[in-house]
């Protein structure tokens, strides 16, 4: 017999967005995950945000798995997360990490909560009697809390704890606690765990006004708040009430609100020469929300230096904020805030548009506070004995990537890779999970083995007889006072109930055995289990029921203790029991009419198709092939490498695309699992996750080839932007940045004699005509070229005419370096673009100096235009072939820009690189790894169980109006032209029910949510009397 392999286990440190995403991805791939967080709750920063750009509402649940969604709980993630492969340990720190790749021993410090969540009934009597009040850090001190508290107001379970620092040990809480859950002498527990890999997702420190001296001239009043605190001002679980944004000092409505950007960032003096990347969009979003929530009279003004709208859709959001919402942007860094006697906040600023100074009073000032990354990195470096790079960040194998240098099995994601927005946190989380999964595969460890319990036949057609099993979990119920005998008596009276069993602790092994035992004897054909926290135990309890011969569809779990939390403060045993019996009635009725549900398994063709043979495509292909997945790699050109891999030797941040592409090409061509198809494009692709069929058309001979595969990745890249502005094409002295870069590399552009070089940024970009978006890479490209010119010819003068320098994150250091090298930056406004005239064969550039407000002109020996990135020319054809949509700019439209950035509505197709939007190579590589991981999750198994609850069509009632096809947000419904009927993709359907609402004929229905069943449940709820007297 083969030796049993251990189950792959990964420790994920930090339960913010990237950590949660990495944990879910690994859990979905079948590995065990330990997810810890330093704070008492999960969610990281996001728990504090009610609204996210660009939709301006929450969408956190969209990061949950879509297929096989019954494995994880479909649940509001702001409350909490449950997954059978994830062990969640909040309030847990890491004391030490020993060992090396594949074998790490970690000491986890579980901090004392002083309230045992396993015993606590969460009624919160302790909070009522606690006499100590302190600032509530969740609301950034805008509200107060007790020493006994709930860390996040919307958490469920509530997970109460005691703040040791604040607690006076008066003992009042001990007296009122009905369950004995409080132990004021509890100690931290240290536990050693062995894991194969570690993902660090612990985030970095944020700048605050308390600890940093350069904030003092701004933080002069409680009405000066940080951007995160302002989220709490806007939140109804914060201080927002009565439809008004209020200032913290006196709760008066705040009408004039200002944002000050770059607080703590872009500050060489304080050794913080970086940009915090996210604050510009954060401020724009907050300003738009302030306008929307506070009413039209709210004035929102943002003081900024460069408005860094570099990401997909960012520039359009900025335009909308300014044009539609009236958000005012002023390019000025103010020196401080002055508190006036009436409490208003005066700021003096210079408005570059009018060239005048203004002194203006504001009600509320929001400081856009950025990241302070160094401390977190230093702490990890000490703990892991890992090196820091020259910037003071943990050294990674490639800059900005996830593999920690010299530490196999150690990965970074989230803000440890540089402050990230939601989509980048998601992508880096998936990429880190992918790298960890690859590492585990190479290590040869196993995935979690699931007990294979066959699904018993449904007895849906038999006369309904419901067995009810009620859990009595010892102390909790005993103290809270459910009267089980009364409960049993009440339920037994009901005609459909065949048996009522009371069992101790169903969640434990003994209880499980007792349940199994009692079910084996029953004659009932449906089962209702009353227990606590069904979102955690649903799957496990259904497994027990299945073993006892109950079809999963015939089993429901009722939240027995949720009843107590809903409104009865001091229930007597009888009150509560009758209330619970009344509530449970609806479930019994519903269960009676429940139809049989089938869990279908989807056969998976374990082959991938990768479209695009550039660096992104090759990276994704290798990532899959290295895990044993056969890959077809399709490239429309006659060679691999793509744009960057054939043209660009070096990027400014130290990557070498040509060398990288050569290395990848060699590995791809030699790989036994990769088949390369050159000179062809995907003409048409049909099918769904697990069974796609794609038609390749070869350019040279027009031949077709058909490929079968289970998933696909689009990595088709983009192309060099074009322009006709600024005299391009009229002189060889006018060229694009890409042409200059090539010329500098191959020596065709000689800069040894040039005197003046002028570069114009955003040529044809960020304007209504042409490219509306920022191409993200041009500022860096221009700076790189300018530095190269200065290196070759220090006497040359280089002027860069720009609108906003988009050197976000640590790219800011290159901007600083460029200025230090004497490169002169000249800001221009889109209303007054530079003009170019030709004189004596040389372009003469005319512009207005933004500081001196003087007209300048300069004859240039070279005029270089940053023409940006255009969408790939095959994007439209590809979108048509795959039935995907494009953004109005011509890039492929992902499912959700924040939460599902590399997925499509259609499951099984993923996106990487410039096909998504223009981005630096670092991001292409991350996306390629992430896309491969997404595909791998589904391709790793031979089959995939689809959800039992999906939508269906009653074909006889269907009028083929196709309204359901149009309304489906998941693209799960399509019209089948051949058979003239509606097809449903069971993998894509999320059972949201929109089709059922939209359908005029009741032909669309969600299985298990039929009208009859729902009406029965509603009727039961409306019968307000207890069963005993229902008669």
């Amino acid at each position: 017999m083969a030796e049993e392999k251990p189950t792959g286990t990964v420790l994920v440190v930090g339960a913010g967005i990237s950590g949660i995403k990495a944990a879910i991805e690994l859990a979905e791939s079948g590995y065990k995950v330990i997810l810890t967080d330093e704070s008492p709750q999960m969610g990281g920063i996001l728990a504090k945000l009610d609204y996210q750009f660009p939709t301006d509402h929450c969408g956190m649940c969209r990061m949950l798995p879509l297929v096989g969604r019954e494995y994880a709980s479909q649940y509001c993630m702001r409350k909490s997360l449950f997954h059978e492969n994830i062990e969640i340990l909040p309030f847990t720190g890491i004391d030490s990490v020993q060992g090396n790749g594949g074998n790490y021993r970690v000491d986890l410090r579980k901090r004392a909560r002083f309230i045992d969540p396993a015993i606590c009934n969460e009624l919160g009597k302790c909070i009522d009697v606690c006499p100590v009040e302190v600032e509530d850090e969740f609301n950034h001190g805008l509200t107060r809390r007790k020493a006994v508290y709930q860390a996040v107001p919307h958490n469920n379970p509530r997970m109460l704890l005691i703040d040791k620092q604040a607690c006076t040990r008066c003992g009042e809480c001990l007296k009122v606690c009905p369950t004995g859950a409080i132990n004021l002498d509890a100690q931290d527990e240290v536990e050693t765990r062995e894991v194969h890999a570690v993902i660090l997702a612990s985030g970095v420190q944020l700048y605050n006004t308390r600890d940093f001296e350069d904030a003092r001239s701004y933080a002069v009043s409680p009405d000066v708040v940080t951007s995160l605190a302002f989220e709490r001002v806007l939140s109804s679980s914060g201080t927002y009430q009565g439809g008004a944004i209020r200032r913290p000092s006196d709760a008066r409505p705040a009408k004039k609100i200002a944002w000050i950007q770059c607080m703590g960032s872009r500050n060489r003096r304080q050794h913080r020469d970086y940009c915090s990347s996210i604050c510009c969009m954060f401020a724009l979003k907050e300003a738009v929300l302030a306008k929307q929530k506070g009413g039209p009279e709210v004035e929102a003004t943002i003081f900024y230096m460069d408005m860094r709208t570099f990401g997909k859709g960012f520039q359009q959001y900025r335009d909308k904020a300014v044009e539609e919402h009236g958000v005012k942007l002023i390019r000025c860094r103010v020196q401080g805030v002055m508190l006036k006697p009436d409490g208003s906040l005066m700021m003096r600023y210079h408005d570059p548009e009018t060239n005048e100074f203004f002194e203006k009073d504001f009600d509320l000032v929001v400081l856009s506070t950025g990241q302070i990354p160094f401390e977190a990195h230093r702490r990890w470096a000490d703990l892991l004995k890992a090196p820091l790079d020259e910037r003071g960040l943990l050294a990674t194998e490639q800059p900005g990537m996830v593999r920690v240098a010299g530490k196999p099995g150690l990965f970074l994601c989230g803000s440890l890779t540089g402050l990230t927005d939601i989509s980048e946190a998601i992508i880096s989380g998936i990429a880190a999970a992918g790298e960890a999964a690859k590492f585990l595969t190479a290590l040869g460890v196993d995935t979690v083995k699931k007990e294979d319990i066959p699904e018993p036949a449904s007895k849906a057609r038999e006369l309904p007889l419901v067995a009810v099993a009620l859990c009595r979990c010892g102390e909790k119920t005993g103290a809270a006072g459910l009267d089980y005998e009364l409960f049993r008596a009440e339920l037994t009276r009901y005609p459909s109930v065949g048996a009522v069993q009371v069992i101790d602790s169903i969640c434990k092994a003994d209880g499980e055995a007792a349940l199994l035992d009692s079910l084996a004897k029953t004659a009932c054909n449906r089962l209702l289990i009353g227990a606590c926290q069904p979102f955690i135990y649903r799957r496990k309890l259904k497994d027990v029921a299945r073993k006892a011969g109950f079809n999963s569809a015939m089993v429901e779990i009722f939240d027995l203790f949720g009843v107590a939390r809903r409104g009865m403060a001091e229930p007597s045993a009888a009150d509560w029991t009758l209330r619970a019996a009344g509530e449970i009635k609806a479930d019994i009725h519903s269960l009676k009419y429940k139809p049989a549900l089938q869990v279908n398994t989807l056969p998976i063709n374990q082959t991938a198709l990768v479209i695009g043979g550039g660096i992104g495509g090759m990276t994704a292909a290798l990532s899959l092939a290295d895990r044993g997945v056969p890959v077809h790699l399709v490239e429309k050109e006659g060679h691999l490498g793509g744009y960057l891999g054939t043209r660009v030797e070096h990027t400014i941040d130290g990557l070498a695309p040509v060398a990288l592409a050569a290395d990848l090409r060699q590995k791809v061509l030699a790989h036994k699992h990769i088949t390369v198809h050159l000179n062809c494009e995907v003409e048409k692709s049909l099918g769904t996750l697990g069974r796609f069929e794609s038609q390749l058309r070869f350019k040279n001979n027009g031949e077709n080839k058909y490929l079968h595969h289970g998933a696909m990745i689009i990595a088709t890249g983009g192309r060099e932007g074009a322009t006709t502005e600024y005299g391009y094409g009229t002189s060889e002295k006018v060229l694009t940045q890409a042409e200059l870069k090539r010329g500098l590399t191959d020596g065709n552009v000689d800069v040894s004699e040039v005197e003046n070089v002028v570069m114009i940024q955003c040529a044809g970009s960020r304007q209504k005509e042409g490219r509306r978006y920022c191409s993200r890479i041009c500022c860096l490209g221009a700076i790189g070229n300018a530095l190269e010119i200065k290196e070759k010819n220090p006497d040359a003068r280089v002027f860069i005419l720009y609108r906003d320098v988009m050197t976000y994150g640590f790219y800011e250091q290159y901007y600083t370096k460029a200025r230090a090298a004497g490169i002169i930056f000249v800001n221009y406004s889109p209303d007054a673009k530079p003009r170019v005239e030709m004189a004596e064969g040389r372009p003469v550039v005319k512009f207005t100096d933004p500081v001196l407000k003087e007209e300048m002109e300069l004859p240039a020996d070279l005029l270089v235009l940053s023409t940006g990135v255009d969408p790939g020319e095959s994007n439209q054809g590809l979108a048509d072939a795959l039935n995907l949509s494009l953004t109005e700019d011509g890039f492929l439209a992902e499912a959700d820009s924040k939460w599902r950035p590399i997925e499509f509505q259609k499951v099984g197709i993923y996106l990487a690189g410039t096909a998504h939007s223009p981005m630096p190579l670092k991001n292409v590589l991350l996306q390629a790894e992430a896309a491969a991981q997404k595909a791998y999750t589904y391709l790793s198994g031979r089959e995939l169980p689809t959800a039992a609850v999906t939508s269906m069509v009653k074909d006889a009632l269907c009028a083929r109006c196709r309204r359901c096809v149009n309304i489906c947000p998941y693209g799960a419904r399509s019209y089948n032209e051949a058979d003239k009927c509606i097809d449903i993709d069971a993998a894509a359907c999320q059972a949201c029910g929109l089709c059922a609402v939209e359908c005029q004929n009741n032909a669309a229905e969600v299985r298990g949510w039929g009208d009859k069943q729902l009406m029965a449940a509603i009727d039961a709820k409306l019968m307000d009397r207890p069963l005993a007297s229902a008669g």
Partner: protein, 167 residues
């Protein structure tokens, strides 16, 4: 203006090579809270830095605003790029005098008249109303002021231009 013609390359090296001038990214911190930016003409520190960077020698030579600086050094404390703007202003003043022997900054006339570049002795009533002690300024001490003027008159720049000082 034609930069090719007027711009003196590396002017900054001549004027203020010690500092970090080139790091300036025109953020306006130095001017937004500058007391002398209220003046007419206003002192606009970042414009001085800009003229230096662009090499506008003649404009900078004729610029009187560096002499309006009140030495509060707020720009110095708040500059995120550590350009040290106050130092820059002092260097510009020196450079102006070095390069134009005939230049007599109006600020010297102010000093001669009232003992200080700025109107220090004013706000007497406001100080009294707030219960603050009377400032022991040289303006309030005619004897001392005469001595101070006599001392200034011994310097070359004042004695050779004594017509400007009412003498």
């Amino acid at each position: 203006m034609d930069l090719q013609e007027v711009s003196v390359k590396d002017l900054w090296q001549d004027v203020y090579s010690a500092g970090n001038l080139h790091y300036c990214f025109n953020c306006s911190t130095c001017i937004s809270g500058c007391p002398a930016s209220h003046g007419d003409p206003p002192l606009l520190v970042r414009n001085l830095a800009r003229k230096l960077i662009l090499g506008l020698e003649e404009e900078l030579l004729d610029d009187d605003t560096p002499w309006a600086c009140v030495s509060c050094s707020r720009c110095e404390e708040m500059c995120p790029m550590n350009v040290m703007p106050f130092e820059m202003i002092l260097f510009i003043r020196q450079w102006q005098c070095r390069n134009d022997e005939t230049r007599v900054p109006t600020a010297i006339v102010e000093i001669y008249k009232r003992g200080y570049t700025q109107a220090v002795g004013v706000n007497t009533e406001l100080r009294e109303s707030l219960g603050l002690p009377r400032l022991n300024t040289i303006t309030n001490n005619p004897e001392q002021l005469e001595l101070f003027r006599a001392m200034l008159m011994k310097t070359r720049i004042v004695s050779e231009n004594d017509y400007m000082f009412g003498g």
